[in-house]
């Protein structure tokens, strides 16, 4: 490698936060991810949409290695994804994740949920962690629920706590795996508003969702997946008003016109 290309790589690494190259994954005979190449820049909000079973959730989960991949490379902030062990745990701490089913720790209070990672992973002291947790809970609008258990909260509140829990780790990038799919319609907005605020604050976000409104208003880029491939990538306006691929046209016609 020449010196010039090393320097160029270093610059690129600062810009490119998440890079997937030639990623393949199989579930048995099913080829769920086929030669995925995707680069996400720092501060970018990328929304991944597509029909069910197109591999978008799997894609999201490979980025913090909750799903392993069969071939290809994934790197985050210039560092390749570690295999297992401590290095992987460290990396996951830098990658916030929000799940479809919230997955708040059911035996801990809301406050403890947000404090746990700070104390056990970041080794913050209890007082500072509690303070930060309360600030974050206020920011997502559930500050008054801090001492309740997750089961006592509505879905929308739980999901906002889950976002606060992820934010407490000061992540470099946030992954959202269908964050509103398990919510009642009236609770979807409260979660989306928090996410839009995050996007405005410059958080790097990868969002798998069916919320086209959110994709339109908050995304820098829309990635359309079908059958394990990235079929189309475009800025939201272009994608929604003038999709290039037939598959995307078909998908949009089904969801946008009732």
């Amino acid at each position: 490698m020449t010196e010039a290309s090393v320097a160029k790589d270093a610059v690129a690494a600062a810009e490119e936060l998440v890079v997937l190259k030639g990623v393949n994954k199989h579930f048995g005979a099913l080829h769920v991810l086929q030669d995925i190449d995707l680069t996400i820049a720092r501060g970018e909000v990328v929304v991944v949409i597509g029909p069910s079973g197109s591999g978008k959730s799997t894609l999201c989960r490979t980025i913090n290695r909750l799903e392993t991949i069969d071939s290809g490379d994934i790197s985050i902030d210039g560092k390749p994804l570690p295999e297992e062990g401590k290095a992987l745990a460290r990396l996951r701490a830098d990658v916030g994740m929000v799940f479809q089913s919230f997955n708040l720790f059911a035996h801990k209070t809301v406050l403890e949920n947000v404090m746990l990672g700070q104390i056990k992973v970041r080794k913050a002291d209890k007082k500072a962690a509690a303070e930060k947790a309360r600030t974050l809970l206020d920011r997502v609008g559930v500050g008054t629920q801090a001492d309740k258990y997750p089961a006592q909260l509505s879905g929308g509140q739980q999901q906002r706590v889950a976002i606060a829990r992820a934010l407490a780790m000061d992540p470099k990038v946030m992954l959202f795996d269908e964050p509103t799919s398990a919510l009642d319609p009236e609770m979807i907005n409260e979660v989306l508003e928090v996410m839009q605020q995050l996007a405005r604050d410059g958080m790097t976000m990868i969002v798998v969702t069916h919320e086209m409104g959110f994709a339109r208003s908050a995304a820098n880029r829309v990635v359309f997946m079908a059958d394990g491939r990235i079929v189309e990538e475009a800025v939201p306006d272009q994608f929604f008003s003038n999709p290039r691929s037939d598959r995307a046209k078909d998908f949009l016609s089904k969801i946008l016109h009732h």
Partner: protein, 206 residues
């Protein structure tokens, strides 16, 4: 003596059983295999055989003295060791079924915030698993309490051997038998009721 035997063996079997359960769900195949082998061997051997082996085998042949020359103390310690070793297999299996009641998402969320495997197990999965298996663990504890009588086989002066001595000295077989049976009910019934109540109280709401 029975109570002391029960409490010490219960603590031992809970600790060792939890470790076994951790082994059986660990990502290391060797540990998984060792845990599975232990459980399947130990729970399928009659307790009497284990206890007699500990006395005749461990102590007499291999010279394991459990840190004492006093035969009574040695017998007691061997009995605790055997009871704990035997019941830990059941504790392990109860816990493992408890671990299966904890949704996968809990562990995924724990790993996603950067907790290691052992932290995930200790802080998230096991606390929830324990709460869901309190009632089955009460079963194991009750069985353990009654199984302490087997320690009579190696001469530990617990309730059953006491009863045997008394029956040999007195003629009141039925009465003495009833008194001792009642004694065990007094020990185990509150245990079961208390743990049943505790299990309900601590149940994790989802």
């Amino acid at each position: 003596m029975t109570v002391k035997l029960t409490v010490l063996s219960a603590v031992g079997s809970l600790v060792w059983g939890t470790l076994l359960a951790a082994m059986r769900v660990s990502p290391v195949p060797l540990l998984r295999g060792a845990g599975a082998a232990y459980v399947n061997i130990v729970r399928n051997i009659p307790l009497t055989v284990i206890i007699v082996f500990s006395s005749l085998g461990l102590a007499d042949i291999f010279g394991v003295t459990m840190g004492t020359d006093n035969f009574d103390i040695q017998g007691f310690r061997l009995a605790v060791l055997s009871l704990a070793a035997y019941h830990s297999a059941f504790v392990c299996e109860a816990l493992r079924s408890g671990i299966n009641t904890v949704p996968v998402g809990q562990a995924e969320a724990a790993r996603a915030i950067g907790l290691s495997f052992s932290q995930t197990l200790r802080l998230i999965v096991l606390p929830q698993a324990f709460r869901s298996v309190i009632t089955p663990l009460a079963n194991v504890l009750i069985a353990l309490t009654k199984n302490t009588t087997v320690a009579a086989a190696i001469g530990v002066a617990e309730a059953a051997s006491l009863m045997k001595t008394m029956i040999e000295n007195e003629a009141q077989t039925l009465l003495i038998g009833a008194v001792f049976a009642f004694g065990f009910v007094v020990l185990t019934l509150p245990t079961g009721l208390f743990l049943g109540w505790l299990g309900k109280r601590l149940a994790v709401k989802r």
